[in-house]
């Protein structure tokens, strides 16, 4: 089979674009979620859109699964390769095809890194707003697949709010284009459906992104709190005051301690939690807003307030937050990052629940939190070399995700379901809802060849999961309303 597929692809791809020997395919065995690994049968590295189309058509004709892959930084195993199929890497699509400052848009290939878009737009006073923490490495194609967010999305939106159009192919290799350089397109909003579809509906080969004028200036207020609850209440108070901060992030003490050693951001290590609250706009506007932010945060019980005095200090305050994952990576052999989103008012309850789980599973769990939009990233610290610890970690994570659903939230805010959270989909959605997802999939890909086994579980899998779950101590929320 491997020989046959590789041979077929070699009919139209150069030798360097088809990998099938173990030593060549090894680098593709996992994405950013390294707990899941599998060697792909064949890796295809096309260099033109015509080649992408040929790969898809050939695989479609042979009935071979295809898994698209961008920079491989995904955190849910969405790019875990198919053992019996082709891993389709878009890494060679690295060009900015058109930068149009007058129209405030850029047409780019999917392999272009997120941060590189803002770099090329900078001379025109423009930038691309979504800024996931992995922005120096992750690519726009992956951002589209996952609907990536970042620390500024309360004010500036997610990928879905900042992409105007995508072009690519269906699983059968048919050319498609969703969206437009205008603000809407006729018919159903297939662009909204495709963004965040985790590579299950189409392969994207070109993305048109919206560029925004860079705000004249930005300053960040750093506030310390002696209780996590107070920090949570402060977040609500900021919003209630009519302020939409450009960024609003929270870190608890275990998280600040871990990063402080690593980046020396100047965090208050005595605080139970710190908030980073950013204002952007014209200098006068920022001055006005920062004054209001300080007032609200002080009234909410902040024990210490610091405002960045210049751009270097602002970046230093942010550096710790952006480096949270690598920093935690230094204090533990492995960490497991969760991605639930909750209504902000339930924050204290969920953090207390996580604290209880730390005791129950005897594992530490620092928390970083996109507080403005309710997206939690608890990081469970463990040692993957100890299979028993991995098992405890997974059980810990599953309980936290189900808690997120229970309080009216979701199992994933921005990292995607992938293979990692596929069982929790059975908790968040009813069989009829899951069946609708599968019907949507079949409308795009009747043979179910694109990224199979990801994002949407089969009903059989849910039944099996339910059985295991009941054995593990009773289904916790069987009749839960999920809206």
């Amino acid at each position: 089979m491997q020989r046959r597929v590789a041979g077929k692809l070699r009919e139209f791809l150069p030798e360097r674009s088809v990998l099938w020997q173990d030593e060549d395919t090894r680098p593709y065995e996992c994405d950013g979620l390294t707990a899941y690994r599998r060697l792909p049968m064949v890796v295809a590295l096309p260099e033109t859109e015509a080649q992408v189309q040929q790969v898809l058509m050939a695989c479609h004709a042979m009935g071979v699964p295809v898994v698209p892959r961008g920079a491989g930084t995904g955190l849910s195993g969405g790019a875990l390769p198919p053992g019996d199929g082709v891993l389709l890497s878009l890494a060679k699509f690295m060009r900015v095809r058109r930068l149009d400052p007058a129209a405030r848009l850029a047409i780019i290939e999917p392999g272009v890194r997120n941060a590189a878009i803002s770099d090329v737009a900078a001379p025109f006073g423009l930038y691309y707003a979504p800024d996931p923490s992995s922005q120096i490495a992750c690519s726009i194609g992956g951002n589209v697949a996952e609907n990536s967010g970042g620390v500024h999305c309360l004010k500036y939106g997610l990928t879905v709010h900042n992409v105007l159009r995508v072009r690519g192919f269906t699983a059968a290799g048919e050319a498609i284009e969703f969206g437009s350089e205008a603000l809407d397109a006729p018919g159903y909003d297939l662009l909204a459906l495709a963004i965040g579809s985790e590579g299950l509906l189409a392969v994207v080969t070109e993305v048109t992104v919206k560029l925004l004028p860079r705000p004249e200036t930005a300053r960040v207020v750093m506030a310390s709190f002696d209780k996590v609850e107070k920090a949570g209440d402060a977040v609500a108070a900021v919003i209630a005051a009519g302020i939409v901060p450009a960024g609003l992030e929270m870190m608890d003490r275990p998280a600040t301690r871990a990063v402080e050693e690593f980046v020396h951001a100047g965090y208050d290590l005595e605080a139970a939690a710190i908030l980073l609250c950013e204002s952007d706009g014209s200098a006068a506007e920022v001055e006005e807003e920062v004054a209001r932010m300080k007032e609200v945060l002080a009234a909410a019980g902040a024990t210490r307030l610091a405002v960045s005095r210049d751009e270097a200090e602002r970046l230093r305050f942010w550096s710790g937050r952006k480096a949270a994952f690598p920093a935690v990576g230094r204090i533990s052999p492995d960490y497991y990052c969760m991605d639930g989103t909750i209504p902000k008012k339930r924050l204290a309850e969920v953090l207390n629940f996580i604290a209880a789980m730390e005791k129950k599973y005897r594992l530490r769990c620092p928390n970083v939190f996109h507080a403005g939009d309710g997206n939690l990233h608890p990081l469970i610290l463990f040692d993957a070399n100890d299979p028993e610890q991995l098992e405890r970690t997974e059980a810990f994570a599953a309980e936290v995700l189900e808690k997120c659903i229970e309080v009216g939230g979701t199992i994933t805010g921005e990292h995607g379901v992938g293979v990692e959270k596929i069982d929790q989909m059975c908790v968040q959605f009813s069989p009829a809802e899951l069946e609708m997802f599968r019907a949507i999939k079949r409308a795009f890909d009747p043979q179910e060849l694109l990224n199979p086994g990801k994002a949407v579980p089969t009903l059989a899998r849910c039944v099996e999961f339910g059985r295991r779950h009941v054995r593990a101590g009773g289904l916790r929320h069987p009749g839960l309303p999920r809206f």
Binding site: N147, G196, S197, E285, T341, P343, V417, M436
Partner: protein, 352 residues
């Protein structure tokens, strides 16, 4: 009222294979292709389910009046950022989302779909399904809730919607400038590339109006940077309502009204008839008896599409026909949601 009576109607209609025409306040009956089928009135399924100002989220049932929602939000100094047109006192939330129409703030704030966080629907089998939720970030499952915006009821009866809302700006001002169209487009696109608090724009007959919304200091600075004459608050408010609700004199009369959605910096679209421009140049209203093929070809050349928005005769089809690959995906989705084809058939495209 609970949703069961609506569910019962759908099941029964699906069994018979007879079309249902879903309708809230009826304020947008004119929009899209002609509605057909037995009337399914959604107004009784009404009420705000939850509103948390500090979460910036409001959830309400489909029959809830848009006016009521806006009043409740205004009490907390918040608003629907996409500034939806009502087109009549009876406008409901369900109709607002199904039509997917956004108002003057669209270019700066976003469209209806950008603020839809979650939805509960009854599909064409009468199944109650929930997608998305009440949180800002949610990538579990396909984003069906956003797909519903603008689907004109063809995928399901929207029972409940959760929307992201935003605080009202502390200050607002409207400016008037004399500019011919090409010059207005050039300036609008230039301003859009700078960090200015422009929240609406409308050009007509060599007069451009700009609405600024933001912090006091930002408004002051923008007035300085842009120039022009400041319009009195009351006159400005009624002007923007007139544009949003199409009560402005431009929209009066019987001539067909076309909606051209094009890239904001597209050159003036040369067509017979008067034009009113919004959204920084990205939306161009045209009053013209020009033939549909001519209007659609011109919109396509400009990089966009044209909708026959209001017209006594919509034989030409309300919406720009889809490319074959997209039409196939549309039919596939319609079949997934409504296999019997009973929900608002033909309202979006004649073939489904």
């Amino acid at each position: 009222m609970s949703f069961e009576p609506i569910q019962e109607r759908i099941r029964e209609a699906a069994g018979r294979g007879s079309a249902l025409r879903i309708r809230g306040g009826g304020s947008k009956d004119f929009y899209g292709n002609a509605p057909r089928g037995e009337l399914l009135d959604t107004r009784a399924h009404a009420g705000i389910v939850s509103y948390e100002p500090t979460e910036l989220v409001l959830s309400a049932r489909c029959g809830t009046s848009l006016l009521e929602i806006q009043e409740v939000l205004a009490e907390k100094s918040q608003l629907l950022p996409f500034e939806p047109p009502h087109f009549g006192p009876g406008a409901t939330l369900g109709g607002c989302v199904a039509a997917g129409l956004s108002g003057p703030r669209r270019a700066s704030a976003g469209a209806v779909r950008d603020f839809v966080l979650g939805a509960v629907i009854l599909d064409g089998r009468g199944q109650r399904l929930a997608f998305g939720g009440q949180v800002m970030k949610n990538v579990a499952g396909y984003d069906v809730a956003r797909l519903l915006a603008g689907s004109l009821g063809t995928l399901g009866v929207i029972l409940e919607v959760s929307l992201k809302v935003l605080p009202r700006s502390p200050a607002e001002a409207t400016l008037r400038l004399e500019l011919p169209q090409a010059e207005a487009l050039r300036k609008l696109n230039g301003w859009a590339g700078r960090p200015l608090p422009i929240s609406a724009s409308a050009w007509r007959g060599d007069e451009l109006r700009l609405r600024l919304s933001g912090a006091e200091s930002a408004i002051r600075a923008a007035v300085q940077a842009i120039g022009g004459e400041t319009v009195a608050q009351e006159e400005a408010a009624s002007y923007w309502t007139g544009v949003r609700e199409q009560a402005d004199a431009f929209f009066a009369g019987e001539l067909p009204l076309w909606r051209l959605s094009v890239p904001s910096n597209a050159a003036p679209v040369e067509l017979q008839g008067e034009q009113l421009l919004e959204w920084g140049g990205a939306l161009r209203w045209l009053r013209s008896s020009a033939d549909a093929g001519t209007v659609r070809a011109a919109a396509m050349r400009a990089g966009g599409h044209a909708t026959l928005f209001r017209a006594p005769d919509k034989a030409a089809g309300a919406f720009t026909p889809l490319a074959p690959a997209l039409a196939r995906l549309h039919r596939g989705l319609k079949k997934a949601f409504d296999p019997a084809g009973i929900l608002n058939p033909g309202r979006l495209y004649p073939e489904f």
